[in-house]
């Protein structure tokens, strides 16, 4: 028969059929099916982490001032997990969410891997990698040049704190270089230290023995939200929940924060009026004679009215408080019912070991001096100074016995120049520096002189200072901005030159006492892994810059390298630090008659400042001065306050991807911040849950989402603090709004520091 197409097809079909049937009797289809499923179980693009020996390496966490001891789990030479160090007195095995996500910083895209030089427009994110020699050389050259031109004072230095060797190396650099323009991030802790300086004659940090206190009265402190050392504070707070512990926490705060919710009692108060309430409590305690008579009568002064050498009559603290702050008046100011004021006062007085705390939220804003003094006066009234469960004094961690800096004529002269921010001048006699005014002065066309250089170490002024827009504009005016730190934060993003620091998992460094901690506690960071990138210990960087500049500047840095500097600075303490990871010392618990360094060796309820700055003597009599944010009540009917918590890192380190992931959709929705607003107010303004809205203040406006939250007062909106970054990576940058961009400067009438993040606001549906 002929092989026509049909026959051909038939044969093909037959062969195919036979083949198909036949293959069923071979392993092929079955093995293939199995192997394909196994392939899907081991997709090459799904990681298979390398196995190896597991070890643990200790260091100290540096992501916030908390100073927790951590233990890093390693597999071979990879870090895989960060855990709290057991037995460490600060955090004993516990760890906060930021700390345990530290490896996302160590290995993450926000790391700066090598010195970078700006290649594009400022803040554009275009960089050119340079060698360390080039980088350091350029810094030294630029600074020396200014110095030659007698413009040393136009170079500013900005650091995140006044303690620890590295901060002080940069401060020392500023001094010997000869610029008065050093900025140190200003926190509530510094304000309390000032209060101690004035009332007790000694600049010291407060140490709160909260573990042994039975009544903690918090004037807005985010006790479990980042105030002090987070893990330690959460431990303290957990004691309250311990069945049968007589301990309680009373939270005075405008918003139902986590702290307020977890406190034994929440006292809702109008924003920024805490000082008035503190003085109201003093009023009741004095009126009812509940105060510690021994302390007040024997160890304090200016409690009663007094007469000065020129026979001028002065009101004592007692009369002032009794006259000015009766509960009725306090109720008007704070909105706290008078009965509750009295009740609080009596509770506080009745407690065995009460203590009052100062500093709103994480304490990242300075607050008012009178606010701090009022709170401290409350502690003093009950004689809570140098008492178990009370407040003690700690000297700053800067006792390194370094040789006196070699100051040449150039330096000495330029140091006498006025600071650009006016601190220390007649206008702000009580301030040593005013970082919060940086934006304002830089934007001010009538500023005394322009800044030509700015050297920032581990701080993030571009993000943390109020009036962000002015700050950013100001930064762009500075010819030469140098950032030294480990992460590409907002300031780094705005810099001309970036000098990458090691992370706390790669370097030797001292970590100063955690704020508010009951004892001096200097932690030690240790290299857990060899530095992954071409980075340099910031202290080393400072020393190299100085050396590169030569002359007296170099002479003031006699150390061969940072390690030697660290060893000499820590001295005998280093042994402990290397053995346990920290060094500790008890505070001075001396009796009252040795406790105070005032002229009269007494506690001063109304200290007087005798200074050339004041033609007539200035008396710091604690009182309440209303803060009035810009904007009219009609145009901006609402009050905007920030809220803070541990899932929102808002200082020089930003949220890690894990942290951002933990943010509830009541803080961040897609790329937008979510504002909390009281349901009644929200409805009144035509808003709906989850809806978009435009939030505007005199300082600026932004698009937000709305969350109805009965935990904020009517006519109040609360915005999460820590979002709205321009630096970092896609996991953080551009998400939400920076509170600082919406609030204007709200200066403390006494010191000029920023008193609070409060603004008038308006909100309309978008």
């Amino acid at each position: 028969m002929k092989l026509d197409r049909r026959t051909f097809l038939s044969i093909g079909a037959g062969a195919a059929a036979g083949g198909a049937v036949g293959s069923l009797f071979t392993p092929l289809p079955w093995k293939l099916t199995d192997d394909l499923s196994i392939w899907s179980q081991n997709w090459p693009w799904t990681p298979d982490p390398a196995r190896g020996e597991v070890t643990f390496a200790p260091t100290t966490c540096e992501l916030c001032p908390g100073g927790c001891g951590v233990s890093v789990r390693k597999v071979k030479d990879r870090c895989v997990k960060i855990e709290g160090a057991d037995g460490n007195p600060v955090n004993d095995g516990g760890i906060c969410p930021l700390g345990s996500s530290g490896l996302q910083i160590l290995y993450g895209p926000t790391r700066i891997k090598t010195p970078l030089k700006r290649a594009g427009k400022r803040g554009e994110g275009k960089w050119k990698p340079v060698t360390w020699d080039e980088a350091l050389g350029e810094v030294a050259a630029k600074l020396s040049d200014l110095r030659q031109k007698k413009l040393a004072h136009t170079a500013a230095v900005y650091v995140n704190g006044g303690e620890g060797t590295v901060n002080n190396l940069f401060l020392r650099l500023a001094t010997v270089y000869g610029t008065p323009n050093v900025f140190v991030s200003r926190t509530a802790w510094d304000t309390y230290a000032d209060a101690l300086l004035h009332m007790q004659g000694e600049y010291a940090k407060p140490a709160f023995d909260l573990e042994n206190s039975d009544y903690i009265l918090s004037f807005g402190c985010g006790i479990i939200e980042g105030w002090g050392s987070p893990v330690r504070m959460i431990r303290v707070n957990a004691q309250v929940a311990e069945a049968g512990s007589g301990k309680t926490v009373v939270q005075i705060e405008p918003r139902l924060s986590n702290t307020a919710a977890k406190a034994g009692k929440w006292v809702a108060i109008k924003p920024g009026t805490e000082a008035a309430l503190a003085l109201g409590l003093c009023h009741v305690i004095i009126r009812e004679g509940l105060f510690n008579d021994e302390f007040v009568s024997t160890f304090s002064q200016n409690f009663e009215d007094w007469v000065d050498e020129v026979h001028t009559e002065h009101r004592g603290f007692k009369r002032a408080v009794l006259e000015d702050f009766p509960p009725s008046a306090v109720e008007k100011i704070t909105g706290v019912p008078r009965a509750q004021v009295a009740k609080l006062a009596r509770e506080f007085a009745a407690a065995k070991a009460p203590v009052a705390l100062f500093g709103t939220g994480k304490g990242e804003e300075a607050g008012t001096l009178y606010g701090a003094m009022a709170v401290h006066a409350l502690n003093a009234l009950m004689g809570r100074i140098n008492q178990a469960g009370g407040v003690f004094m700690l000297p700053p961690d800067a006792d390194f016995n370094w040789p006196a800096p070699a100051m040449d004529a150039l330096a000495q002269r330029s140091l006498r120049e006025n600071r650009i921010d006016g601190a220390g001048t007649d206008r702000f006699p009580l301030a040593s520096e005013l970082p919060s005014r940086l934006g304002e002065v830089l934007a001010d066309p009538k500023k005394p002189y322009p800044l030509h250089a700015l050297l920032v170490y581990a701080a993030d002024p571009a993000f943390t200072l109020p009036e962000t827009e002015k700050v950013l504009a100001g930064l762009s005016q500075i010819d030469f901005v140098v950032y030294c730190g480990s992460q590409m934060n907002d300031t780094a993003a705005m810099a001309d030159l970036v000098l990458p620091d090691h992370t706390c998992y790669e370097k030797w460094q001292d970590v100063p006492t955690p704020p508010g901690f009951a004892r001096r506690h200097i932690g030690l960071t240790r290299p857990v892994v060899k530095p992954l990138f071409s980075t340099m210990q910031a202290g080393e960087t400072a020393i190299r810059i100085a050396k590169a500049m030569g002359g007296p500047v170099a002479e003031s840095f006699p150390w061969s390298d940072y390690i030697q500097c660290l060893e000499e600075s820590m001295g005998a303490r280093l042994a402990d630090m290397k053995e346990n990871g920290f060094w500790e010392a008890e505070p001075d618990k001396g009796p009252w008659y040795t406790a105070f360094k005032t002229r009269t060796r007494k506690f001063d309820f109304a200290p007087r400042i005798i200074s050339p700055a004041f033609p007539d003597t200035k008396i710091l009599l604690p009182t309440y001065e209303a803060l009035t944010p810009a904007g009219s009540e009609s145009g901006f009917p609402l009050t905007l306050i920030p809220y803070e918590n541990l899932r929102l890192a808002a200082q020089n380190v930003g949220d890690t991807p894990f942290l951002v992931k933990t943010l509830p959709d009541s803080s961040l929705m897609n790329q937008e911040s979510v504002v909390e607003i009281n349901p009644a107010t929200g409805k009144a303004f035509g808003l709906r849950e989850g809806g978009a809205a435009i939030l505007s203040t005199p300082a600026g406006e932004t698009r937000v989402r709305v969350h109805f939250y009965p935990g904020v007062a009517k006519n109040t909106v609360a915005l999460p603090k820590g979002l709205g970054h321009i630096g970092y990576d896609d996991y953080l940058a551009g998400k939400g709004t920076n509170v600082n961009a919406l609030v204007g400067l709200l200066p403390d009438p006494v010191t000029g520091h920023n008193a609070a993040l409060i603004a008038r606001a308006r909100i309309v549906p978008a």
Partner: protein, 443 residues
């Protein structure tokens, strides 16, 4: 006659050897059942072309889901089951007509009127079940491991039962569909095939019986899927040992509403082809049965709902209102739509002789029935996922992505294509052939 057969063969050979458009038309004509009238090829081609495009669109979406993953859908951790699973349950319920008519015809032996509809009920079944398998193949996150459900089967899982019965019954449907294909005018001329078909027919009873049996189970286990979720008070039902009441309700509803769908499609196709394809006797017979089935089903369903609403759910701390209030979509209306509009009313119409014999009311009834059972499946899949369970949890609503919609439409298009082709080339409707032949004789 001899010449006829012979010449036909040669013609086909010739055609195979050299296909030209003209010859294609001849082939088209020759493949059509003898004597019937069909739409012109171009018209039919246009129709097929359109639905092919729709199918391709759906297929594109399917490819996206396979290669990019299920992030292409709008499903989420609250909606693990969504549109697809609903579509699955719905088509299987509607395909129920196949097993049920098969069951009646071959097992109960209602030969006479149903022979006019059974072929075509089988095709619908075939389409529904193949679609269901296709959708399942897309719905799993790891299709390459899909066979684990058979190989590592967990006998406690209703889904396992579903998978097994479903695929077995699909096999049966293939076998049931085959003879119909082989009855093609030309194929039938090949003696081997002719005999094969013949033998198949005689064996069909067994297949139908098996099919019916399997169907009872997987229809049921599909109901079980929801009913056994004791963590989901909205879905959970008590029952007789391993089977919750939903098990039986699903089987019953499939048997009851399946025929509605079969009738609905018949009416639809008759409308499109402008021909009488199934004698009223058959349709009315099926409608009557369906009516009584729905009637009995809805009584059971109502009883079950009442017991659930007033005993089962409250025992776990839930009130009926918790399931139907406090959200933007799910209200009591859906309960009414399912039970009253989609159950009681069609039952009433179909049971009453007048109702099922009046054209418009019959159509209304079957449409309502189809809606009713679809809503039931929707509720048992999507509302289950929507209802918050933890006190502090929230209602979760969901809108499918275009990829989900497209892949859900794909089976519809594919169904249209298969029915159109079958109708054109296969003796799908014996009645139509009879009519045609009768006409020929008269002529």
């Amino acid at each position: 006659m001899e010449i006829a057969a012979k010449s036909a063969m040669d013609k086909i050979n010739a055609l195979f050897d050299s296909l030209t458009p003209k010859k294609l038309l001849e082939l088209d004509a020759m493949l059509q059942p003898k004597g019937v009238k069909r739409a012109p090829f171009w018209q039919w081609g246009l129709w097929m072309g359109f639905f092919t495009l729709v199918a391709l669109w759906g297929f594109y979406a399917a490819i996206l889901c396979w290669f990019k993953g299920l992030n292409q859908t709008n499903m989420n951790d609250y909606y693990g089951f969504a549109l697809w699973i609903w579509a699955d349950l719905a088509v299987i319920a509607l395909g129920g007509g196949a097993f049920f008519t098969g069951f009646l015809k071959y097992v109960i032996g209602k030969e006479m009127p149903l022979k006019y509809i059974v072929n075509y009920a089988v095709i619908i079944g075939f389409i529904c079940y193949s679609s269901a398998l296709l959708i399942l193949g897309m719905d799993v996150g790891q299709p390459l491991r899909g066979w684990f459900i058979f190989w590592h089967a967990n006998v406690h899982s209703m889904l396992t039962e579903v998978a097994f019965c479903l695929s077995c019954y699909f096999g049966v449907l293939c076998i049931e569909y085959l003879p119909n294909v082989l009855e093609n005018r030309q194929l039938d001329k090949i003696p081997f095939i002719h005999n094969l078909t013949h033998n198949f027919h005689s064996a069909m009873g067994i297949f139908a019986a098996t099919g019916a049996f399997l169907s009872f189970f997987h229809q049921g286990s599909l109901g079980g899927v929801a009913g056994v979720m004791f963590g989901r008070p909205f879905a959970f039902r008590e029952g007789v040992f391993i089977w919750p009441t939903t098990f039986f309700l699903f089987t019953w509803s499939a048997a009851a509403f399946g025929p509605c769908f079969t009738i609905m499609l018949t009416k639809l196709i008759e409308a499109i082809t402008r021909k009488k394809l199934v004698p009223d006797t058959a349709v009315r017979f099926l409608a009557k049965i369906s009516g009584w089935m729905i009637g009995t089903y809805i009584v059971a369903k109502i009883a079950d709902t009442l017991y659930w609403a007033f005993v089962t759910a409250p025992a776990a701390g839930w009130h009926l209102s918790d399931f139907y209030t406090g959200n933007a979509f799910y209200g009591y209306w859906i309960l009414a739509l399912e039970i009253v509009a989609g159950g009681i009313i069609p039952a009433g119409i179909l049971i009453s002789k007048k109702g099922r014999e009046t054209g418009w009311s019959l159509t209304l009834a079957v449409i309502l029935g189809v809606i009713g059972v679809s809503v039931n499946r929707w509720v048992m899949v999507l509302q289950v996922m929507a209802v918050p369970i933890m006190e502090f949890d929230q209602w979760a609503l969901y809108v499918p992505s275009w990829q989900e919609v497209a892949t859900t439409i794909l089976p519809v298009a594919y169904g249209v294509l298969l029915i159109s082709a079958s109708h054109r080339y296969l003796p799908l409707f014996p009645y139509e052939i009879e009519q045609a032949n009768a006409a020929e004789h008269h002529g």
